[in-house]
């Protein structure tokens, strides 16, 4: 075993102390019929060879592509200070701070994370972290049911399709989830259909616990969040805002438009894409909902000598105390990623964060105009921040062809939203501060070529 300390002599000493001749005797309580045969696994690999294997597997991934892909996961510059600090063993090899006297580092860092997010979201209560944006959204939806004692939630089709799927899975225990359609044409195309929402809320036989909408929405568009909040509250429902944290440097925060709960994906705050995780589920609420919010909370207190210190608190919400009456089953969360987000925010500061959002917006506008220059236009007229959908004939084939040319041409929306005919020939593209003007110019030329080249290929282009 590569990391074990025991010499044969150590093992003999332990066995002798126990009066045993073989370690096998310690497994005598496993019924004979149920004992395992030797496992069929590849042989152990020395570290040097394993390192070479891992390096070659990593190299098989195409991370060399010029990327315009966002769709909920965004590339940003993360100052090296973030990862170098994360590599300190005192952070990443500790566990949940059950013993506060020897965990003040983790506890203070979580308190600071809660405080940073509270500022950014303009919300009072921030949980110490959830698994990711989708799981946090699902927990937010469950919170609305507990708090209102109703069992129906409305979720806008403008929320990321994977988040909608996740909420639907979490609701399989007996709660109802209905989707609010998006406007199909006109100035508000691609945003939540307010008339439909109003009609759904008016069904008094099926009272609504919560309304969930995202800003920017999955298609990159800005939603009328204050109006959605107003309609939800008029019907006695809570409002859940799904937000992207970097955008909050420049966009109105959930607290400003009356969101009761905010959920979101913290990955853009200095966390690498890593093919899906680990990420950071952000979950926040108003003070009124503090006893409904699931997950760890850290509070400030004092020790016996009066020194300021931090401790996990309001634990009566949690599974290890309340068991089947707990607010959620969550135990292990994403503390290290909350730390990463905090270090990122501390390192780039409020001005840096605003610059990240503003440059992303500027680069996206540049992308819009470069694409328009080759005849590729936006699908929706409404305002966006740094991501938008464009109409591209034979979008799937174009996307595929561009991959061969070294470009990740955003997301082919037909794959993400197959049920929406308005998105059949569209790509969702985004830009951030790491997107360069040169990449944008080359992409515009390449997409024009790809559209032209695919024109001759009739049918059969769908993957």
């Amino acid at each position: 075993m590569p990391y074990g300390p025991h010499t044969d002599d150590d093992r003999t000493r332990m066995l002798t102390a126990l009066g045993l001749s073989s370690v096998d005797e310690l497994f005598d309580d496993i019924p004979e019929a149920l004992r395992a045969f030797p496992l069929d696994l590849p042989p152990p690999e020395p570290e040097q060879e394993l390192a070479a294997r891992l390096r070659s597997l990593a190299a098989r991934n195409r991370t060399d592509l010029v990327s315009f892909l966002g769709a909920g996961v965004y590339r940003h510059w993360s100052p090296p200070a973030v990862d170098q600090l994360l590599l300190r063993g005192e952070w990443y090899t500790a566990y949940t701070p059950y013993q506060p006297e020897v965990s003040q580092g983790t506890l203070q860092s979580i308190y600071e994370y809660q405080s940073l997010m509270a500022e950014l979201l303009d919300m009072d209560i921030v949980s110490a972290s959830h698994y990711d944006g989708a799981a946090a959204t699902a927990e937010a939806a469950l919170m609305t049911c507990r708090a209102t004692r109703r069992d129906r939630v409305l979720i806008s089709r403008g929320v990321h399709p994977h988040y909608r799927d996740t909420v639907a899975t979490y609701f399989k225990g007996g709660l109802e989830l209905d989707e609010i359609p998006l406007v199909t044409d006109g100035e508000a195309a691609g945003t939540t259909d307010m008339a439909a929402l109003e009609a759904m809320l008016a069904d008094t036989d099926r009272p609504v616990a919560g309304v969930v909408a995202a800003n920017p929405d999955f298609l990159g568009l800005l939603e009328p969040m204050p109006r959605i909040a107003g309609l939800a509250h008029d019907a006695g429902a809570l409002f859940v805002a799904v937000v992207e944290p970097v955008s909050l440097a420049v966009l109105a925060p959930p607290g400003s438009y009356g969101a009761d709960i905010a959920a979101g994906e913290g990955q853009p705050l200095g966390i690498a894409p890593q093919y899906g995780g680990p990420y950071l589920g952000i979950l926040a609420s108003t003070e009124a909902l503090v006893r409904q919010i699931p997950g760890r909370l850290v509070g400030m207190t004092r020790d016996l000598d009066g020194q300021r210190a931090f401790v996990m608190t309001l634990r009566a919400r949690e599974q290890d105390i309340r068991r089947d009456k707990a607010a959620s089953n969550i135990c292990t969360n994403q503390a290290l990623l909350a730390l990463a987000a905090s270090i990122y925010l501390a390192t780039i500061g409020p001005h840096g964060l605003r610059d990240v959002a503003a440059i992303g917006a500027a680069r996206a506008a540049e992308l819009e105009s470069a694409l328009a220059g080759v005849g590729i236009r936006r699908l929706h007229p409404g305002p966006y921040l740094n991501e938008f959908a464009v109409e591209v004939p034979r979008a799937l084939a174009v996307h595929r062809r561009l991959l061969g040319a070294g470009f990740l041409a955003g997301l082919a929306l037909a794959e993400a939203e197959p049920a929406d005919p308005t998105l059949a020939d569209a790509l969702l593209v985004c830009a951030t501060e790491v997107t360069t003007s040169d990449e944008i110019a080359r992409f515009a030329r390449a997409i024009a070529d790809a559209v032209a080249e695919t024109a001759g290929v009739a049918g059969g282009t769908r993957r």
Partner: protein
């Protein structure tokens, strides 16, 4: 600051000085945000701290030094398997090809990661005796929810909709009953027998046509192998219910017992326990779920598929209509799973069996060392962990397990898990793991024995412990009564910065 002077740190808000920082991000062109409608924009700026990089680094380095961690010392936190976290795995997860890969790239751009994940699924299936594995769940608790929702879907698809109950032993992790509730089930708690196992008679009496599932941790949270497991699983299946195994304690039985082969229908793995991925101060973990053949239609979507030509792809949304759906945004905590993959490749079959052998041997040896000083309510061989109790010490001296735990800190050790399972009076759940040397284990036993003696001779020093930690015991009552959960800027108050 850490070697001399005060150890506690000001908050980043107190360290902030307007005008500090900058130089990280280029300046945006003027008017970059003009096209955003005024009513959609932020009106007031968030009061985030302004710091320069040296201050940030010092803050987080100094804070880190207030933590106990596996890298700093022995961390026998029962039920959590705080084993060494290999450094190769940290390096591997940070390789650019793994770290920079977007989760929505076309499958052909992700072949390296997909291969790692597929091979990891295969290895976990082999280790557990399950037919297939999903890597999607982000942690053990999410794995439990995945498994119980799969069981729910299984019963419903068979038209068996009247099953409303999940049976859970009273010694179980709190996540088990909490999971059952989240999945819409009522929890029925089963008492433990005097020998620490499930009370078979009570178990049989509770089973019936309303039972959807039972959730069993094996070895149990008392560190004991459920010797009648075959009998229990037969009883479960006889009434048409399914058996979920909480795999938190898999570190004891690698290569010795395969839950799927023994009759468990579905289980989760905690890769942050058994397969050495770091605990991160409370996460991230990963909680893959393995299932037997009859539950495969219900596994979360998407699964990873391997074609005959050796290429990999993600399953499409409608490909498996009975799936419970998605548990999270993307395919899994991939960065964590790469580490687990490296761990399993480094060990192979023989190495993994040695992991369990050494973990179990170390736990039994440590238990033996404490016999006579602490109560050992279950006096039979344990697996990778065991429960000791300070019940007699408390009766004789008034010193509680909590006090002993705090005193251990002064001896340089992280306390074990205390007051869990809830079924043992003054219990401490001790898990040494296989990566701690005999010298460390002996030193820990010596410390506990010394504290037990101190309880008789100088109890006050224990009650006042810890003496050497950065802070003393905390006022948790006030923290809960008047919660202060976020920093509030204090107008006009200039807080001195200690460095």
């Amino acid at each position: 600051m850490s070697v001399t002077g005060p150890r506690l740190q000001p908050t980043i808000f107190e360290r902030s000085r307007p005008g500090r920082g900058g130089g990280k991000i280029p300046h945006p062109p003027a008017g970059a945000l003009d096209r955003i409608p005024a009513d959609a924009r932020r009106a007031t700026r968030p009061a985030l701290p302004e710091m320069n990089e040296p201050d940030v680094v010092r803050h987080y380095v100094n804070l880190s030094q207030l933590n106990f961690a596996v890298d700093t010392g022995f961390y026998p936190l029962g039920s959590c398997t705080m084993k060494f976290n290999p450094k190769l795995n940290e390096w591997a997860a940070r390789l650019r090809g793994f770290a920079e890969l977007h989760p929505m790239v076309p499958d052909e751009a992700a072949q390296g990661t997909l291969q790692v994940l597929w091979e990891l699924e295969e290895a976990l299936a082999e280790i557990s005796g399950m037919a297939a594995v999903t890597l999607q769940p982000a942690a053990g608790a999410q794995g439990e929810l995945t498994g119980i929702l799969m069981i729910r879907a299984y019963h419903r698809e068979r038209g068996d909709a009247d099953r409303t109950e999940v049976l859970v032993p009273d010694s179980s992790h709190g996540t088990n009953p909490a999971t059952a509730s989240m999945a819409g089930y009522t929890t029925i708690t089963i008492p433990s027998a005097p020998d620490g196992g499930v009370d078979v008679d009570a178990f049989r009496a509770a089973l019936g046509p309303r039972t959807a599932a039972v959730m069993i941790t094996n070895p149990s949270t008392l560190g004991l192998f459920e010797a009648r497991i075959g009998e229990l699983l037969d009883a479960v299946h006889d009434v048409g219910a399914l058996a979920y195994m909480d795999g938190a304690n898999l570190n004891a039985i690698l290569g010795r017992f395969r839950p799927g082969e023994a009759g468990f229908d579905v289980m989760h793995f905690n890769v942050h326990k058994t397969f050495s991925t770091p605990h991160g101060g409370g996460g991230p973990g990963a909680g893959p779920v393995g299932a037997r053949e009859h539950l495969l239609p219900y596994l979360p979507t998407p699964r990873i598929l391997r074609a005959d030509d050796g290429t990999y792809r993600l399953e499409r949304a409608a490909e498996r209509p009975s799936s419970i759906g998605r548990m999270r945004s993307f395919i899994g905590n991939t960065g964590v799973l790469v580490r687990a993959y490296a761990y399993i490749r480094a060990h192979g079959a023989a190495g993994l069996r040695e992991v369990s052998d050494d973990a179990v041997l170390a736990a039994n040896y440590l238990k033996h060392r404490l016999a006579g000083t602490f109560d050992l309510p279950y006096d039979r061989p344990c697996k990778h962990e065991f429960v000791a109790s300070a019940s007699s010490i408390k009766q004789a001296t008034g010193i509680r397990t909590l006090d002993i735990a705090k005193r251990l800190i002064d001896f340089g050790f992280h306390p074990p898990t205390i007051y869990f399972p809830l079924t043992v009076d003054e219990g401490m759940l001790i898990e040494p793991t296989e990566t701690e040397s005999l010298e460390t284990i002996d030193a820990f036993a010596d410390a506990l024995i010394a504290i037990a003696e101190e309880a008789a001779t100088d109890p006050q020093v224990i009650r006042d412990a810890p003496h050497s930690a950065p802070v003393r015991r905390l006022d948790e009552a006030t923290a809960a009564r008047q919660p202060n959960l976020r920093w509030r800027p204090m107008a006009g108050a200039e807080t001195p910065c200690p460095d």
